[in-house]
Symmetry: C2
Subunit: 293 residues, 2 copies
């Protein structure tokens, strides 16, 4: 198994792994007693969108593995248009990488992929952290056409990471200040950057959100079969994937603790990185059958 | 200031404090660097209903003060029939006890009293922990006549603390086992016990719940003026004060973190005392302006 030479997403080199006819971009760094922790990313996000204030403290206790799904960053292929199809890529990647068992942190779209993977291949995963995400059949998932969001996304004065400051954080001065710090941290990585996702990726992933809003049979029934200890996290002011979706997750998953943050939007983990990583590290360090730590 | 000779609710002596024409029963034990922590109790509960697995670990970092409101246990007078009237008693008690500033842990009805006190006398309180409670205008608060609850409360085979096992815990084997352990812990206190509350106390407190469900003007607006760092805790299966009330608290309080537990009912703090006291102690130890620790 290869290991990176630095333990920060600011400097960790991007690696490529060939799996059948695909090539996946990833970064792998850190170490410690814990199982590897696979990070699954948000809508259009690449390896460069992982805040080092979140990845690096967690890399102090385990290897962290950041992953570009097909069609994202420098991974080959096209972005899938369903969550189920997205889940096949990290599964194949883990297998070839030789990771038989790991923990997973899924953020936003990545949380949906994590849920799908845990349903499809329960034994590969031990503990799951779901941030700012929604179950299948969730409500109001990433409707970027909503006036409140569209105004901020289409504002021509917002460019690059600054858009994230407007949509991942609330309008309060304290949240916007946290957003500026977040953008500064992402901007510290200067070299070996992923290409930014284009409209084709966005279109496929929006289609996946629409498909994920649908459900058949009893709503949320599939969650009750998932017994993995799970930590669900969200900001109470999330306009992209409202916190009600996190409520439904923690109510219907068999074994989930919910943690919500005040004055925070979709990017709660980036707004409170010290608190989030403290809770996440304690959760991951536990070997209890219960999610409660 | 007096201090008890033991640091456990299993053995701490009950004390009485004269305040004007009232006499209040309380227990005070523990010590450490933190501000005193005032415990406010649930429907019909007395000093003897505080689980030592919750009080004692917290008493390792600060004095804890358990309080019988008027008409409860060995406190004089009649149980008030509104939360606002209940809030006057601990305020007067704290003043005569010489406590100018403290933290407060309110459970169920006690959480409503804590909210009222923090609104009425903001400067007395630093941090607030609200477990299994509801804001003014909350929903489905303590409707013991609901068939699901009435069946368990009126079951003649349930006596004394065993009723709590049925109504504070879920029907799952793991939750019921935790309930048995809880009852065993309460039963360890053998002497110097409070009298059990009768129907008069229950009637007054039920009237207070009904009054608390009402609201005027914009629902939950008063919560947005409370800036105290707050930790809100509940079990996702609480049938006495449903978890939706905790969602409304954490969404509308300016500065509240929410923690919910799986497989748990109204007594989540007694089901997961190690986890609860770990989170509560970390929250109380913080001097941050933010509730996020």
């Amino acid at each position: 198994m290869s290991s990176s030479t630095t333990a920060s997403n600011t400097t960790a080199p991007t690696q490529l792994l060939k799996v059948n006819d695909h090539s996946y971009a990833y970064r792998r760094f850190g170490g410690g007693p814990g199982l590897p922790l696979l990070f699954l990313q948000h809508f259009t996000g690449t390896l460069d969108n992982w805040d080092p204030a979140v990845t690096d403290p967690l890399a102090a206790g385990r290897e962290v593995i950041l992953f570009d799904n097909a069609g994202l960053g420098r991974s080959s292929g096209e972005a899938p248009a369903t969550v189920a199809a997205m889940a096949l890529h990290p599964m194949a990647f883990l297998e070839v990488l030789g990771i038989e068992r790991c923990d997973v942190l899924g953020y936003s779209l990545g949380g949906m992929v994590a849920l799908q993977m845990v349903q499809d291949r329960a034994s590969v995963f031990r503990r799951m952290i779901l941030v700012g995400t929604a179950p299948r059949g969730g409500e109001d998932i990433m409707h970027l056409e909503k006036p409140s969001l569209a105004k901020r996304i289409q504002d021509p004065t917002n460019r690059g990471y600054d858009v994230l400051k407007k949509i991942f954080f609330t309008a309060s001065p304290s949240s916007q200040a946290a957003g500026e710090a977040f953008v500064r941290r992402l901007s510290q990585r200067k070299d070996d950057l992923d290409p930014v996702s284009g409209p084709k990726v966005a279109g496929a992933q929006i289609a996946a959100f629409r498909e994920w809003e649908g459900f058949e049979g009893e709503r949320f029934a599939e969650l009750r079969g998932i017994r993995h200890p799970t930590l669900v996290v969200n900001g109470v002011g999330d306009e992209m994937i409202p916190v009600s979706n996190s409520y439904r997750l923690s109510e219907n998953l068999a074994n989930a603790v919910l943690l919500t943050y005040p004055d925070a939007g979709h990017g709660s983990l980036f707004q409170y990185p010290e608190s989030f990583t403290r809770h996440a590290a304690a959760f991951l360090a536990s070997n209890s059958e219960s999610a409660a730590v």
